[in-house]
Structure formats: C-alpha cells, structure tokens
C-alpha cells in the first residue's frame, strides 16, 4: 500500500532540481552574473527546507518520518512482480546527513564565487548545473529507502562529480576524473547484482516497512524468530534457518561493502581519493570530503548492518582492522606530504578510519560517534579544503614550502584556520573531539573488537595533531616567504567570510552542546545496535 501525499522530504529533495531547471533556461553569457545567485539561492532554500524537516522531526521514534511512498514500476520476476517504489523518509541518521548536505552546499557555492577557474575554463552555467544535480543526487542517497532508487541516486552522483573534476580541476584533472569514475563505478556495480539478489529473494526492494508492506529489514529481523545475532545460531542449531540470506549472506554483504568501501574509502581502496581531492576545484573537494565520502559510511550503517547482521558480525573485526590501518596509514602518509591539499586529502582517510571503527564496534556509542563524526569531518575537512582553496586563489601553489607567515598578513584568516585545524584534530570543546571520543568509547565497550583497536585508534588522534600542526606551522607561522604583489589580496572577500561563519558556528555548537545532535540520533541508532546486543 502506498503512503501518498507530498512529504517535506520530497520537497527538499526536488528543490535543487528546480534550481537546475531555472539555470537551464538562463543564458550562460548575458546572464553570467546571475548564475551563481540562482545556484546559491536554491541551495539556501533547500537548506531552509531541511531545517523545516528538522523542526518537524520527532527524535522519540525510530520509525521513518515524513514518509512518502508511491509505487513507481513493477519488475516481473517469473510468477510474481516486485514493486520499485519512490520511497522517501528520514530517521535520525538520514536527517543529520541531509542537514549536512544542505549545509555544505551553500558554503561550497559561496567558496567558488569569483574563482579563477571561471576565468580559465569558463562554462560557469554548466558548473552550477552540475552542482545542483549533485545536491539532488546526494540528498536522494540519504532519503530513499528503495534499493533500486537508491542505486540510481548513488550512480548519478558520479556524473556531475566526474565533470566537476574533469573540467574545472587542476593539471592532472583528466587522469583523476577518469580514475574516480572507473574506480567508484567498478565498486558500485556489483552492488546492483546484490540488490537484485535481495529483491529476488525477498520479493521487495523496500528496505523499511511502510503502509502495511513489509520491508526487507523487518523480514531479516523477524525471520524465524532470529531477533538478534546471538539468537540466530541457536535457531540454526534447532534446525531452523537463521537470518534470511544465511548461505549467501557473506557474498551479499561484500557486494554492498565493496561499493561503500571504495566510496569511504576504507584502506586499501583509497587510491582514487588523493587524486580526485587534489585535482578537484575547491567546491568539488569540499563536497567530496564533506558529503560524498559519507555516502559510503551511511550505506554501511543503513544497508550492511541492517540487512546482513550475521555477516556483519563475522566481518566486523576484519573491517574494523582495516579502519584502524586507515587511521594510522592516513595520518602517516598525510604527515609526509609537501602538498597542502594532498595532506588534507590523506587526513580524510585517517578520519574516515575512525568512522569505520565506530560503525563496526556494533554498539550504540560506536554508531552514534561514527554518525556524528561523519558530520564533524564534513564540517572540519570541508573547512580545511576551503582554506586550501583560498590560499591557492592568492598564491597559486599547493606546495607547503612556498608558504609561511600567512598569519602575519592575514590575521583573521589565520585565526579561523587555527580553529578549524584544531577542530579537525579533535581538541576538547570543539566538534571533532565529541565524535572521536564517542567512537573510542564505543570500540572499548565493543563485544566484537579487542582492546588493541582502541589503543591504535587513540594513536591516530595524536598523529592527527602532528600532521595538522605541521601544516599550520609551515603555512601560517614563520616569515612570509612570498608576499603578494597586490596587498589587497590579503583581505578576505565577503563571500569567504560568509562561508566561514556557519562553519565556525557549527564547530563550537557541536563541541559545546553535542546533546542536541545525540538526541536526534539516539533512538534510530539504538534500533540498529539492538541487532547486535548480546
């Protein structure tokens, strides 16, 4: 049965498309000045819509909210037909990530106002069209609960990002864009087979139950009385089947996981990331780090944990181990970089390692910390990429050796950069600390991970301080190595300040009053963690 009626989720989802439509009908030459304003206004309205969603959001229930479900098409499979439905709605996790997306987007657009890339490469109209398409697809990934439509949104994010890197990127942009496209497509395409298999086995593509139709997650969890992971083996010993996909669960789990692991990226699937991040234009890097990587970790939480609990438990130590390797490796390689942008890029590998560790702790703290860390990382690393982008706009170099003493000539900028760097390294009182601390707490209390995981994870926090302080020291302290010819360049432009203000607000707000965000997540995360309670 369908749950019809226009929901706020749908409105939020399709607002960027409205902006895209307006942009399409504008003239790229004569109305060139107005393009960015249309894009910015659209992203702002989308943000307001998502805040309205937040106001309407009831954190006291694990159910999906603001749901809309319309049957979209039928796939005939032999005697039966499986519905593909347009099924949107949010729980705490989705809500938070939708907010992150709509929050990052106006900042990324502001950050690209008056950028040199338009003087060099032009095609401003196309640029904003791709940004709108990207926002639409990213929100889609976080709110849809039909596996096929999820896959559609997931793949669609590839196309605009490919062009953003490929057209407006730096020197090695073609290599980076193609690598990004092929790498992520190779990962996600196996997910399609896994999705088809799940649909074929269960007779539905809806993950959650709605309007009286049972979704896959409920089927998995209520299957033959297998309530949590710990009941399942007993049920199997009694001759009853355990979880739904018993014999092939591991294959399905990996089918989904590879797609997500490449996106996150979990070590050793990270090699596309430094290329893509470094070559992408500033807005591209901000969105890539801010939102796109989170699609991977979100996917793991939403699909791998919910649909394949048994395989999740079996694989948890392995993947958490890869997460920890990522933490250390990312930090290590990051420290070795002379290229500022590459340093920040590798720091993402390290930070996302924490998120993976938190997820596979498989308890409420770990999951909460992981989800919060996704948002934190989006804000801090998004901020760091903005900083790098602004430096590049002025000095046209990414080599750390060329910088130095920036703080002296740009005091406000230096101060802001310090706060964002500190937030990224997890200073107590700022947002980064909350996420990392909760993750480590979760991994310590995990039934599935040993003490060593926490130990090496904590090492990562220290290493983060090392490479970020190294960057800050080389770039901002010391003597000014390359003074700008035009002193006016030292002044921050209004759009740059406007981009930093919301980031700073969030850094302090989430650091000082994290309870607001924890409340949003609590029930939703508990319902997932309950699967793994001993």
């Amino acid at each position: 049965m369908d749950v019809t009626g226009l929901s706020l989720t749908t409105i939020t989802l399709f607002l960027p498309m409205l902006g895209l439509a307006i942009l399409l009908f504008m003239n790229g030459e004569t109305q060139r000045e107005n393009l960015k304003w249309v894009a910015f206004a659209t992203s702002l309205v989308t943000f307001v819509a998502s805040v309205l969603m937040w106001i309407n959001f009831d954190p006291a229930t694990a159910e999906l909210q603001m749901v809309q479900r319309n049957t979209w098409a039928e796939v005939s499979l032999g005697d039966s037909a499986i519905n593909i439905s347009y099924f949107v709605g949010v729980d705490g996790i989705s809500m938070l990530l939708v907010l992150l997306t709509t929050f990052i987007m106006p900042i990324a657009i502001l950050g690209s106002f008056g950028s040199h890339i338009f003087a060099e490469r032009g095609r401003e109209k196309l640029y904003y069209i791709f940004l709108m398409l990207l926002e639409w697809a990213m929100i889609g990934v976080f709110v849809v609960h039909d596996l096929i439509i999820f896959y559609v949104f997931w793949e669609v994010t590839l196309v605009p990002m490919y062009f953003l890197i490929g057209i407006w990127g730096s020197e090695e942009r073609i290599y980076a864009a193609v690598k990004f496209f092929l790498y992520t497509m190779a990962g996600s395409i196996l997910m399609l087979i896994a999705i088809l298999y799940v649909g074929n086995t269960t007779g539905t593509f809806s993950t959650y139950s709605a309007g009286g139709d049972v979704g896959v997650i409920e089927m998995v969890q209520s299957h033959e009385g297998a309530g949590t992971y710990w009941d399942a083996p007993e049920a199997e010993a009694e001759g009853e089947p355990g979880f739904l996909f018993s014999s092939v669960e591991s294959f399905l789990f990996l089918g989904f996981l590879v797609a997500f692991a490449i996106k996150v990226p979990i070590f050793p699937f990270h090699s596309w990331l430094p290329d893509a991040h470094v070559q992408a234009p500033t807005a591209g890097s901000v969105i890539l780090a801010g939102v796109l990587l989170k699609m991977g970790t979100y996917g793991i939480v939403r699909f791998n944990l919910n649909l394949f609990p048994e395989a999740t438990v079996a694989w948890a130590p392995t993947i958490a181990f890869l997460g920890v390797v990522g933490i250390i490796y990312g930090a290590w390689v990051s420290y070795a970089q002379n290229n500022v942008k590459k340093l920040v890029a590798y720091s993402s590998v390290s930070h996302l390692g924490f998120v993976v560790l938190g997820i596979f702790a498989l308890n409420a703290q770990g999951l909460q910390g992981a989800t919060l860390q996704m948002v934190n990382h989006g804000i801090s690393t998004g901020g760091l990429f903005l900083i790098v982008g602004m430096l590049y706009e002025r000095w046209h170099t990414k080599e750390m050796a060329d910088y130095g003493g920036i703080w002296k000539v740009m005091p406000v900028f230096g101060g802001i950069s310090l706060v964002i760097s500190l937030s990224s390294m997890g200073l107590p009182g700022l947002n980064g600390f909350i996420g990392e601390f909760t993750i480590l707490l979760g991994s310590l209390g995990s039934d599935f991970l040993g003490f060593a995981f926490t130990l090496f994870g904590t090492l990562g926090v220290i290493l983060a301080a090392v490479y970020l302080l190294k960057m800050f020291q080389h770039v901002f302290m010391g003597e000014l190595k390359k003074p700008l010819k035009d002193e006016a360049g030292y002044k921050l432009r209004w759009n740059e300040i406007a981009a930093f203000i919301p980031i700073l607000i969030m850094i302090f707000w989430m650091g000082i009053q994290p309870i607001v965000f924890f409340n949003m997540l609590d029930i939703s995360v508990d319902s997932i963690a309950a699967l793994f309670v001993r």
């Binding site: 098409a73 039928e74 005939s76 896959y151 490929g166 193609v178 190779a186 395409i189």
Partner: protein, 512 residues
C-alpha cells in the same frame, strides 16, 4: 485433395490483415520505385520524404493490428505470428529505419552518392526485419533473413557506385563483399540447421516443433542428436547475423567501410531480426530441449558461454580502437552480449517471460542510443571520410555544445548509467539473469560494463576535458540530422527517466 481457395477465401483464411505492417511496407517500396522514376530532379527531395511517409503508414497499420488483436493471432496458415512481441519489435524497427532515413538524406548528398534505390533498399531491408520478428516457421525465418540481408549487402557497398578509386569507395566495396560472403555462409548454416530440425521433428513450424520435440528428446534416439545439432547450427547461423563471439569477425570491417547511416541501420535492424529469430526458435520451440530432468534448456550453457565471451572480447577490444566507427562496432558486439545474457536467462523455466521482456527493453534502449551515437559520429565526419577518429572530437563541447551534450548522454546510456535508457535495459537483463540463477554471468556482465565505461568515457573526456587544438570540425548538422539526434536523445532520456514506460510496453510480451 487440396483445393486451391478463391482469393476471398485466401484473404480471410490466411488472415492477411494481421500481416499488414510488413506487407504495406513492401508495397510502399514498390510505389517508391515509381516515385523515384518520375520525380526527376526533385528525387533527392521526394524519395526520402515518401520513404518516411511509408514508415508512418506501416507504423499506423502496426498500431491498428496490435491494438485490436487480443492476444496473438497467426496468419498465412500458421507461418506468420502477430503477437505483442512482433508488435513491439515492429515499432522499434520502424523508428530505427526512420532515424536512418533522416540521417541518410544529407549524408548521401554530400558524399555525392545520392540514388533513389538507397531508400528502396533500406525500406525493403526493414520489411525483412519485420517479417523476421513475426516468423513462426523456420522457412519464414530463412526467407525473411534473406530479405533483411540482401539489401544490406548492397547498401554496405553503396559508396562504390561512385568508384573513383578512393580509399572510401574501396573500403565500402570491401565491406559489402565481406558482408555478403560471410552472410551467405551463415545462411547455409541456418538452412542446414533447419533441415536437421525438420529431420528430427518432421516439421518446420515453431509451435509444432514445441509439441513434437519432447517425444523426440524422450526417445533418446538419433533424432535427438539431429535436434541438438540442428539447434546448434541455427545458433551459429543466427549468431553471425547478431555478431556474437566467435562469429563476429566481419563486424568491424563491415561497419567501418559501409556508409555511416547504413552502419547505424544494420547495427540495429539486423540484430533485432537475428535476436527475434533466436528468441522464437530457442525460447518458444526448443525450450523443451531439456536433456537433464528438471534442468534448464540444453542450449542455456552454450548461450551463456557465447554471452560471456562476447562481453569480454567486445568490451576489451573496443578499448584499443581509435576510429569511432570501429569502436562502436566492437561496442555493438558487446551489446549483443548483453542481449545474449537475457537469452541465456530465458533458458530457465519460469524466467522465460521476464528475460524476453528484458531483451526487448534492452533492444529498445540500444536502438535509440546506438543510432544517436552513430548520428553524432556521422555529423562530425568529413567528406573524405576522415574526422572519425577519437582525437577528432577533441574540444567538441566548445565548438558544438549541443552535439557534445547529446553524445555524452548516448555514451552514458551505452555505459548503463541510471536515468538513461541503457540502465533500464541492463537492469532488466541482469534482474532476469539473477532470477534465472545465472549470477556468475550477471557479474561478468556488470564488470565488463565497467570496462566499457573506460572507452565510452574517453569520448566524453576528449569532448569536454581537452581543449581543441585544430580547426573547427565542419559538421553536417542539417535539420534532418538534428531531428534524428533529437529523437534518439528524447528516446534515451524518456525511457531512462520514466522506467515504467518501457516495462509497461513489454509487460504483455510472452512467447512461451
């Protein structure tokens, strides 16, 4: 004793009305000969126009026949079948031919090879394809195949009518000759296969084979052997037509040498004809060729292996092609591989219908996308035949933004990215394969489509990401060509975005 019926009896008994879409097109072709004869200097204007009109008439007739026909009906004493399968593929063939005619007009004019026969042969070939999708008898399959192929042999060599010794004319001649010899060769396999099936079952009628075959299989005599060998030879014969590995060798040379609109046409209609016949013969007649109790049809393994080989070879070899037409030739081999996956899935009882539907949607998507891609390639070719290399489209996004955008969408659709028709086709094919238990084959399918992303994306890279170094390409962007591209683009996007549209169109199709 057999009494010859009166004409009125013949018309009613043979149910000629249901063959109208095809027969009208043939009749129109004859009319076109006269038009071309008397049109005089205006012929290069009138003949293509009349050809389009003929396609329209056939289209309307097709709608009437299949809107009124409840279920399926046979005609010509059981040799011809008019069901949803036929009706759907007729539409695809007619649209494909329309696009090819739109592309041809200015191309022929520019190449200086304009002749009225061109359109007559094009329509005749399409009529052959329409009879082939309606064939209910191995004899009709053969006759329709020849009607489909012989005009294509001539069309492939069409440039050689102005044989000035240029490389283009020679290549075109080589293309026609190669196609003809190998086509004739493959027809022999087809006929021999049909003969063996006739020997085993005593009939060439497809529904009758379905009835008789189980007894033949159960008897496990030499007749069973003939049936299996006959089926294998039929697969070989038709495999040539649809260009699957290892019967694909002719494809790149023929596709490269033939005039581009002809290449576009034959990459679609010849494949449709071949696959329709394969589906009818294997899924309808020989679905009972089950040698292991409770197993899938005996030909499933063979088809699966062919599909896997085709996917791997087609996609990998396409990577090394520099010439766009050759690249599209190899990519069309690869796409035949995806349709083969659906065919293999149809071998599992219970999956036959959804697999057939998947194949049809794939064909629809492939038709729009591939014709569109060929239209773009044709547009940027130079008169001397140059300009069709991958480097020649560098910077196209600057010089011809709309053309580049269209080409990008065609490339994304051929890759199978969501929101394009190509994804819908791939999705339905893989869904059927997974349901049939051919997960391994589906995995090969998706992995090779990642490989295909590499060479399709290279086209996009050159158009958008590299700046043009040379002069502006003299594009053949006339109104007719633009319409061909627009229609192809609309089809690719509409069927891609509105998924239910395609699946509803084929939901009535059942050939079991």
């Amino acid at each position: 004793m057999f009494e010859s019926p009166t004409i009125a009896e013949f018309v009613t008994q043979s149910n000629l009305a249901s063959t109208l879409p095809g027969t009208l097109l043939v009749a129109w072709t004859l009319l076109l000969v006269l038009v071309d004869l008397f049109a005089g200097d205006e012929r290069e204007h009138w003949t293509p126009l009349m050809a389009c009109l003929g396609l329209g008439v056939s289209f309307v007739a097709n709608l009437f026949v299949y809107a009124s026909a409840a279920g399926q009906q046979t005609a010509l004493y059981g040799m011809f079948i008019a069901d949803a399968f036929t009706g759907f593929l007729n539409i695809v063939i007619l649209v494909a031919t329309l696009l090819a005619v739109l592309m041809s007009r200015d191309y022929l004019k520019r190449a200086g090879i304009h002749r009225g026969e061109y359109y007559i042969l094009t329509l005749l070939s399409s009529a052959g394809a329409m009879f082939m999708v309606a064939a209910n008898d191995l004899i009709v399959v053969f006759v329709a195949l020849e009607l489909l192929s012989i005009p294509l042999y001539i069309l492939a060599a069409f440039r050689s009518i102005k044989n000035d010794g240029s490389e283009l004319a020679l290549k075109s001649e080589e293309s026609g000759m190669k196609y003809f010899i190998l086509g004739a060769f493959s027809s022999a396999f087809l006929v021999f296969g049909a003969a063996l099936v006739y020997g085993a079952t005593g009939t060439t009628n497809i529904p009758q084979i379905l009835e008789i075959a189980p007894a033949v299989v159960d008897a496990a005599s030499s007749a069973t052997f003939y049936l299996v060998v006959g089926a294998a030879l039929l697969i070989v014969g038709l495999g040539f037509k649809v260009a699957v590995v290892p019967f694909h060798m002719w494809t790149p040379d023929v596709y490269e040498g033939a005039p581009t609109p002809v290449t576009a046409l034959m990459s679609v209609t010849a494949k449709i004809g071949g696959f329709a016949a394969l589906l009818r013969i294997l899924v309808t007649a020989l679905s009972v060729l089950v040698l292991v109790d409770g197993g899938a049809a005996a030909w499933q393994t063979t088809i699966s292996i062919i599909a896997a080989l085709t996917l791997v070879l087609g996609n990998f070899v396409a990577i090394s092609q520099r010439n766009l037409k050759r690249m599209l030739a190899y990519s069309s081999i690869a796409h035949a591989g995806y349709i083969m996956v659906a065919l293999a899935a149809a071998g599992t009882a219970g999956t036959a219908d959804s697999a057939t539907q998947g194949a049809l949607v794939y064909i629809l998507a492939y038709m729009f996308t591939n014709l569109g891609a060929f239209a773009v390639v044709m547009t940027i070719e130079r008169v001397d035949g140059g300009g069709g290399n991958i480097d020649d489209i560098t910077g196209l996004a600057r010089s011809r933004p709309l053309l580049a955008m269209a080409m990008t969408i065609f490339m994304l659709s051929l890759t199978g990215i969501p929101l394009t028709a190509g994804f819908v086709g791939k999705f339905m094919v893989f869904a059927a394969a997974v349901q049939a238990g051919l997960v391994g084959l589906a995995v090969i399918g998706v992995l090779t489509s990642v490989v295909s992303a590499f060479y399709y994306m290279r086209v996009v890279v050159n158009m958008y990401l590299r700046e043009s170094s040379g002069e502006l390409v003299p594009a053949l962007e006339t109104i007719y060509v633009r319409w061909a591209i627009n229609i192809a683009l609309a089809g690719t996007l509409i069927f891609g975005i509105f998924y239910p549209l395609a699946s509803n169109l084929v939901s009535m199709v059942s050939i079991t």
